[in-house]
Amino acid sequence: MADSPQQLSLSVAERLAAEALIIDVDGFEGPLDLLLTLSRTQKVDLRKISVLALAQQYLAFVERAKALRLELAADYLVMAAWLAFLKSRLLLPPDPSEDGPSGEELAAHLAFQLERLQAMRDAAARLMARDQLGRDFFVRGAREDVTRVRRVRYSATLLDLMQGYARTRTRDDFRPFVMDRDSVFTMEQALERLRGLIGFAGDWTAIASYLPEGWEGDPQRLRSATAATFAASLELVKEGQLEIRQSALFAPIELRKKEKPR
């Protein structure tokens, strides 16, 4: 590969360092980290860094990586493209028709970024150099349990109180333990009904046909009526007035009047 004049100006040691950088490309934490490392070869205060020289170093680095057919991650290439652009801006006289930040502004920001990254690294190092808990200073070794006493406090507001009172005063009527009987068909009712009907039940008839009228619609009422009628029919079987059968599991239950033994 042909060294550019730029490279020729580098000392052998710097070139060796640059080679090492390329071999080590995986060790860098992104292009900014690489730039920071490159900037060290300038051996100056980061504030006095030559961004132009740095851009050239970086571009040379990328060129060499390409020559060595090293795969560089996309962000390194993006940075290279941008630095090439920055370089041209810094070298060419400013074009008044072009808006956007000037080359100097861009360079200043890059220098700021590098300085800031370096500052954060130093800060991190200083932080880690501090005395640390569990290494240099310690908490009390023995555990002393702080018992938790849980106190319950009850809260109620005046509004709660008034609503509570209003509730008690507007209840329909005071019926302790009164069930809503609207949809309950009692066994007494069923018995009465069945007694009246069995006289006509000469043949096996499904129990469903004995249900009272108007109880089939609402499932709750249907359930109640069916249960009551079934219970009543068992009662009548016991009394010897009815016969009951079910031909198969889940088949309809059928009733018929029991013939009086002659």
Binding site: R140, E144, Y154, T157, L161, Y165, A166, T168, T170
Partner: protein, 224 residues
């Protein structure tokens, strides 16, 4: 482990006793278990005499909130036994009063003095012992005078704490049914019986109530 006076010992200057005391202090503090003198010696620089430092430390902590105690053949730092009560962290939990309790309380407030049977009649369900106990415990209700009716049942009245809690000066400040209604808290329906007003304007009850009331004010006076 047993470094019975190694010869180098004399080569090093042992740290001053005050420094040794600091060391013993730190070791005892950080160790989860009691530490024996022998172990201290092993951990401290050569030439240290932990027994002496420990004695200083014990004296230093005498009567403090933390004490150096002998535990088995070791030493440990412990909080002073008389301060054990500080080692409780109280957490206060706010809980809403149950609906039954609120209603019972409301009935007592509006109808006091009132008996359990009356509360049950108004609420339409029996009042559990727990509900009454809870309200008594909260000191929001207390026993009033017995009713002059057959069986002389006990009555309940609300307390000064109750008034405090609800920010009332007297139970008469409780809004009446009419106000509840206009506030939209009540259906536009008249209650089945009389007693439409806050402090139950039942003339029969009025006298008794006054009695209860004065009672209430008596022991309410000292607090506030």
């Amino acid at each position: 482990m047993t470094q019975s006076a190694p010869p180098e010992e004399s080569l090093f200057q042992a740290p001053p006793l005050a420094e040794q005391e600091r060391m013993v202090e730190a070791i005892l503090f950080a160790s989860p278990e009691p530490v024996s003198l022998r172990e201290m010696t092993g951990r401290m620089p050569h030439g240290c005499v932990p027994a002496e430092a420990l004695e200083l430390l014990r004296k230093r902590y005498a009567g403090r909130g933390v004490q150096v105690m002998r535990v088995g053949d070791g030493f440990a730092m412990r909080t002073a036994p008389d301060l054990g009560y500080l080692m409780q962290r109280e957490t206060t939990e706010m809980r809403k009063l149950s609906r039954a309790a609120i209603e019972t309380l409301a009935i007592i407030a509006y109808h006091q003095p009132t008996t359990r049977a009356e509360i049950e009649e108004i609420r339409g369900v029996s009042v559990s012992r727990g509900t009454i106990d809870q309200l008594l415990e909260l000191e929001w209700i207390k026993f009033g005078r017995r009713k002059m009716t057959p069986g002389r049942p006990v009555t309940f009245v609300v307390t000064g704490q109750f008034l405090d809690h609800f920010g009332l000066e007297t139970v008469r400040d409780l809004p009446g049914l009419k106000e509840l209604r206009s506030a939209g808290l009540l259906d536009n329906r008249l209650p089945p019986e009389g007693m439409p007003n806050a402090a139950g304007n039942d003339p029969l009850e009025a006298e008794e109530e006054d009695l209860a009331q004065s009672e209430l004010f008596e022991d309410e006076a000292p607090q506030t």
